[in-house]
Symmetry: C2
Subunit: 331 residues, 2 copies
């Protein structure tokens, strides 16, 4: 993989999917070869045109001679195979380019762990030598937000006329957005969407804090943290860009803004703090997943017994969880 072999890299990705064999040993080995790639999260509701935009971004980065990897987590993305035939044919150009590596991640089973798999696959592609890694997710859902938070730069794609979009952004995406693209900008309503976004960004913390208040404490705390970052030295204010990706309009300008954000990340103190925050975030996710894997390995049978005891109403799930944590620590 480090020799930039595509088949070896695909095999490494499968090891991550399965978490089998000596997958952890492999990840340890390849970690020193990571840290070079620039990860761009591409997120937004279905219908905003993320996939076409991603397709255009691949082409632009390829034109500059860069290696591009795509990790598709959006189940409706043609990159994930969840598309009509037309889309697949359109993507074929990239599928046959040896300098483009496309990988889709399934929604995970009972154990969760999608975000951990995403982080691992991104590291594999980083070690493969990707200059840019585009991570496409649907902009809703806890796990998707977690993945978005591990990207270096997050691009939120919106489209006029989807109505709910700006509202949905308020509910969680705003704090992750580094650049907004109002795609399908030739459609009616594009001006209003741009205006709404710019207003929301200008008012910053205040709007979302008020919203968060009615939505519970945790979100409020996050918004507060974000406000502190925003109002600190060298803060980054997300620009709002217009694109029509089907007609290749506005894409050069969008890439320029994405690159500006990258420069901010690597050359300012606030950018450095943000990169560290992202790393800590990914390590917290990893710790959580390692804990549950380790616990299921040593007390998996007890979970089954405890579930039966709760079903018989002999105990409650809270006491059961406490006991299992205590037993896990005692092993």
């Amino acid at each position: 993989m480090i020799a930039r072999d595509v088949r070896g890299t695909a095999r490494a990705c499968r090891l991550v999917d399965d978490r089998s064999g000596d997958y952890v040993a492999m990840m340890k080995d390849l970690f020193p070869h990571t840290g070079r790639a620039w990860t761009i999260g591409v997120t937004g509701n279905p219908g905003a045109g993320k996939s076409t935009l991603t397709d255009r971004l691949i082409a632009l980065f390829r034109k500059r001679g860069q290696r591009v990897a795509v990790v598709a987590i959006d189940p409706t993305s043609p990159f994930s195979g969840g598309a009509i035939l037309g889309d697949r044919i359109r993507m074929q150009a990239h599928f046959s380019d040896p300098e483009v590596f496309i990988r889709s991640l399934a929604t995970r089973g009972a154990l969760g762990g999608l975000s951990r798999s995403a982080v691992d696959v991104i590291r594999v592609l980083d070690a493969w030598g990707a200059d840019v890694i585009l991570v496409e997710t649907v902009g809703v859902g806890q796990d998707e937000l977690e993945i978005t938070r591990t990207a270096d730069t997050t691009l939120v794609v919106m489209a006029p006329g989807l109505g709910d979009d700006v509202q949905a952004i308020k509910a969680g995406l705003l704090e992750c957005a580094d650049v907004f693209a109002v795609n399908k900008a030739d459609r009616e309503g594009a001006d209003a969407t741009v205006r709404d976004l710019e207003l929301m960004i200008a008012l910053g913390g205040e709007i979302t804090s008020a919203g968060a208040h009615s939505r519970g404490h945790a979100a409020g705390t996050l918004d507060l943290a974000k406000q502190q970052v925003r109002h600190g030295e060298g803060r980054w204010v997300p620009p709002v860009m217009r694109t029509v990706s089907t007609r290749n309009e506005g894409l050069e300008g969008l890439v320029a803004k994405l690159e500006e954000h990258r420069t901010w990340l690597t050359s300012t103190e606030a950018g450095g703090a943000r990169r560290f925050e992202r790393l800590r975030e990914s390590m917290r996710t990893q710790l959580r997943e390692s804990l549950i894997e380790s616990a299921l390995g040593s007390i998996g049978g007890e979970l089954e017994e405890m579930a039966h005891a709760v079903a018989r109403r002999e105990t409650d799930p809270y006491t059961a969880a406490e006991q299992m944590v205590a037993h896990f620590k005692g092993r």
Copy 2:
């Protein structure tokens, strides 16, 4: 709360949000008062009309004299406050009904835990005396799927003309769906959506196994498990119902199917097995969250140090996670 006091119940929900005070003690106390409510997950992509349908279901259950609770996790739902004014006004009737309790859950912060909060809030509303608890989520995202899997009955709402829907369903929702509603059934394309769904259900595991194969191993295993359940004794085949919720059409029939599923759950062996599976699922989630909370409590400072060490490239995140798990067990 057990005295059915609305303000006390709201306070209990806030305790769950904050996970502060003696929230765990409260949950232990109220657990014996739970187990009576019927939880219906209402899920599907934005634009399918989940919120209006939920609104109509509330009205129907109220007509039968039942207490109804709504837990809104969909950030675009008017129940979550993320709606245009018109929607809010439309909902007012239910907001002022003392036998209807509406609670929205924010997307959680860094720690994840949305699904655990959902399970806890559902238990609080169960103890409050809800006969029916409607849990509205967006049908994408790992956490949303996890929540869906804790519901007794899962209603997947689709609409013709959204295009991606049937594809998105394949990617994860099919295994959770107990009843499908093709809403906005007066629109063009409704017949095709119904036909696609019925075909997919009839072909069952085969289609999704093939799909899952290209999407990775974990999903394939899940589909296999589902297939085994489906082909067992007394299996439940999800019916596909047509509704036009804005015109109140097809809703009585939909409720009848939901109730049929409830009867299946409580009166057949396969239904009992399914209920147990759901309980075990919620306990696994709880164990995971309890583990990370307990770990951050005892080794939270170490996480910070380890992140710095990884940032300086003195260690890798995998070795760091192993060390942290070992240290946690040693405390």
